[in-house]
């Protein structure tokens, strides 16, 4: 499609696969639309897998760079573009974790957000504290269980999508997810009480 003749919003209605196809022919707008649609998920996946803002940024950039360079390897019959992207991101993340960079990763800073009113401050702080505790618990899972939890529970990927990204059967994704959740429950058990996320010691 010739540049300048594309109505605004045209790219938004195309599927990921169609956008990728257009991007591979050199359509920058198609690439940009696909990037804007998918970068958040890739970034958050890398962030939740590594706990590092810097690594998440690098992984996002390298993932889409790989899409520019090797996007022709995408096979629609094997799964969605999102799963393809998660698969690339996962390999990049694992490479970093394998290099034992985990220990050097900075803990990402909190977002600067609007402060709650004085009456809500304590509740807000305890809630944040609780969520950070959950984040640390997720980060402490072994990578194979962590990636299943991050993809299926935090990124809302389907089992099929996760299976493609993790390059394993759907059944394996299910079992890893169950194992991951069980481990997470054990990790959270001790520290759950007294935090803002509701629980009662008896129920745990």
């Amino acid at each position: 499609m010739a540049e300048g003749h594309v109505p605004s919003g045209y790219w938004m209605i195309l599927t990921d696969a169609a956008l990728l196809e257009q991007a591979l022919t050199g359509e920058e707008d198609a690439f940009t639309a696909l990037y804007r649609r998918r970068q958040g998920g890739v970034y958050r996946f890398a962030l939740q897998m590594t706990g590092s803002v810097a690594v998440a940024e690098d992984v996002t950039q390298e993932t889409f760079l790989a899409l520019i360079l090797h996007g022709t390897r995408y096979d629609q019959a094997r799964g969605t573009v999102a799963a393809f992207l998660y698969g690339i991101a996962r390999n990049l993340v694992m490479r970093r974790l394998d290099r034992r960079l985990r220990t050097e990763l900075e803990v990402f800073p909190e977002h600067v957000e609007e402060c709650a009113g004085p009456e809500d401050l304590l509740e807000d702080l305890t809630r944040r504290e609780s969520i950070e505790h959950v984040r640390q618990a997720v980060l402490s899972l072994p990578p194979v269980f962590r990636e299943a939890v991050v993809l299926c529970d935090l990124q809302d990927s389907s089992y099929e999508e996760a299976a493609m990204a993790l390059d394993c059967p759907v059944g394996t994704v299910r079992s890893r997810l169950n194992r991951g959740r069980s481990m997470l429950a054990r990790k959270l058990r001790g520290a759950a009480c007294g935090r803002s996320i509701e629980c009662s010691p008896k129920s745990m």
Partner: protein, 188 residues
């Protein structure tokens, strides 16, 4: 609350907290720069390849060197279009030795020897008919034509050399129609 419910609630809270997190804009800028750079490089590569192919064709067909080009035969009569230099009978089905046939009624001295250059370099055949009747047999006529003829079949020719004369083989079918042409140059 059951442990699995507690875990689900905890993960939901974490997902909600992270929902707004995205890569910074600089990442998009950098990627778009790479995208543009790569697209430009691909276009440039295509242009270079096309130029090289054209140059190679030109070299093979036309610019094999001044000595490689066919020298006008010494006593060549005034320039004529499609003057037969020699003919070769082409049989499609049979493989019998070709019988020389002169296309002009006036007998000419025996087939004129080719220039001293030992090796002929020919192009592929270019069709001259859009829709040709079935080919059964034909003759290959060696002729001299203006270089402009090459341009008519899509070969690149320097503007200054359009008037030069070059050797060509014309394939004439059994019905007498010129079906295809190829161009000939000589290499030492």
């Amino acid at each position: 609350m059951q442990p699995e419910e507690y875990v689900a609630a905890a993960l939901r809270a974490l997902a909600e907290q992270d929902a707004g997190r995205e890569a910074p804009e600089e990442v998009e800028m950098r990627l778009r720069q790479v995208f543009r750079h790569r697209r430009a490089r691909r276009k440039w590569k295509a242009v270079v390849l096309a130029s090289l192919a054209a140059a190679a064709a030109l070299t093979i067909v036309f610019l094999a060197g001044p000595r490689g080009r066919p020298k006008p035969a010494a006593p060549t009569p005034a320039p004529r279009e499609l003057v037969a230099e020699r003919t070769v009978q082409v049989e499609v089905a049979a493989t019998a030795a070709p019988t020389p046939v002169h296309s002009r009624p006036k007998p000419r001295p025996a087939v004129r020897p080719l220039p001293a250059q030992p090796r002929e370099v020919v192009t592929e055949f270019f069709p001259l008919l859009d829709v040709a009747p079935p080919f059964e047999r034909g003759e290959l006529l060696r002729v001299m034509v203006p270089a402009a003829t090459m341009r008519r079949v899509g070969l690149p020719v320097n503007q200054e050399r359009l008037g030069d004369r070059v050797y060509a083989d014309v394939l004439v079918g059994q019905e007498g129609l010129a079906r295809a042409i190829r161009f000939v140059s000589y290499e030492q």
